[in-house]
């Protein structure tokens, strides 16, 4: 059971125009940099991308936006990206904005075989528009449906050849849920190790959710808001 592929280019084989992708990351933190570059290079078009954010103008998913490879974004927060705003306001880009918690839970649900669930988030807002409303304990909830994707692409810190993953710090974010929800899930990792090198008790994403894995290269890990305090 060897899931290792050589590189990003090989990993994204089978991703075609008009497919739906999930991409892990929060802002620029924990994003699959290598696969995004490979998607840009392959010039795959008409993509529907499910990702909490849309990158910045010149990094992350912003690179795919620049080349107009994205038809539709499903996200929770898309600030910090002028090209995104331009495409959205001009109508070139379809945008479906989802509360962050509902986005996370809908991905998890997609991976966990839960087709729909009730949540209070978004009731009485645009998000709840035309969605089924039901009261539980006197409180209104809306029915949200699972999300899945043709391919999910996640970024982990370390992974073994069976696909077991561990993440570092808040680079974890959406990666574990999206790993569950891809029909095919690709993991790019900073360090690829042999089975047995990761402690079974501390795996964040079990290998069963991963179909392809490779060790990425040249991680830039750009910081969006560098905030520091003076040394006293």
């Amino acid at each position: 059971m060897n899931k290792v592929v050589a590189n990003a280019q090989e990993a994204i084989k089978g991703i075609e125009d008009n497919m739906t992708l999930m991409l892990g990351g929060f802002g620029l933190c924990g994003i699959p940099e290598n696969c995004i570059s490979a998607l840009v290079k392959a010039n795959i078009k008409g993509l529907t991308c499910i990702s909490n954010n849309a990158g910045v103008d010149d990094f992350g998913l912003g690179l795919l936006l620049q080349k107009k490879q994205i038809k539709k974004m499903i996200s929770s927060y898309v600030g910090e990206n002028d090209e995104f705003e331009r495409q959205m306001l001009s109508g070139e880009l379809e945008v479906d904005l989802i509360p962050q918690g509902s986005l996370a839970e809908r991905c998890r649900a997609g991976g966990a075989g839960i087709p729909a669930f009730f949540t209070p988030a978004g009731f009485g807002t645009e998000v709840g528009h035309e969605k089924e409303v039901r009261y539980f304990n006197g409180k209104p909830h809306i029915l949200e449906h699972a999300l899945t994707a043709d391919f999910a692409i996640v970024k982990a810190w370390k992974g073994d050849k069976l696909g077991n993953l561990i993440f570092k710090g808040t680079a974890r974010n959406f990666n574990p849920m999206m790993a569950m929800a891809g029909r095919i899930t690709i993991a790019e990792v900073e360090e690829l190790v042999e089975p047995g090198e990761l402690d079974p008790n501390f795996i964040h994403t079990p290998g069963v959710f991963i179909q392809r894995i490779f060790q990425g290269e040249k991680y830039e890990k750009r910081i969006e808001q560098r905030t520091v305090r003076p040394r006293s």
Partner: protein
Amino acid sequence: MLDKKGIAKRIAQELQNGWYVNLGIGIPTLIANYVPEGISVEFQSENGILGMGPFPFDGEEDADLINAGKQTITAMKGACIFDSATSFAMIRGQHIQLTVLGAMEVADNGDIANWKIPGKMVKGMGGAMDLVASAENIIVAMMHTNKRGQSKLLRQCTLPLTGVGCVKKIVTNLAVLDVTPQGFKLIERAPGVSVEEIKNATEGRLIIEGDIPEMNI
């Protein structure tokens, strides 16, 4: 009148020992600097950390350790990291005792709008809709009026809503107000601000009962 730091300081007085607290982007983030002595709270950031600490020293930034505002942070002793689904399980499941966030508009029934200006600005709601739909205790931190001098405390929100009937308390540069079934109830005035000034800056229903004390901050 309070500045942003003053608003943060005043809200910090609301913190209770043992609370888990989610702070939104902007003024709320500043609250972490003013936790009263003897009060121990833990800060949650919805991108996946509990026990968020101060910004790192210059040179010690870690791209893999940020808050929901994408700022580099540190982790306190006893912090823990989790995925986004678990993070919102905490929020939706009401394990977080206080949420503080900014707003563009608040209505006197507790409605809040802070994520979209149709045709002009659409940043997205991020975690705000989940937070306001579930938090038992929501404080809005904002300026009393917008840049054009118009009240942000309204009879009804004009912008797309983030949540309905959820705001419990508002702290602005002018006042502290509770949201009650009868409207905004004035609780405290900012230093040097008169009741009249607050009245003039508030479009929604305003309840003024008895003497309104000045904040002690």
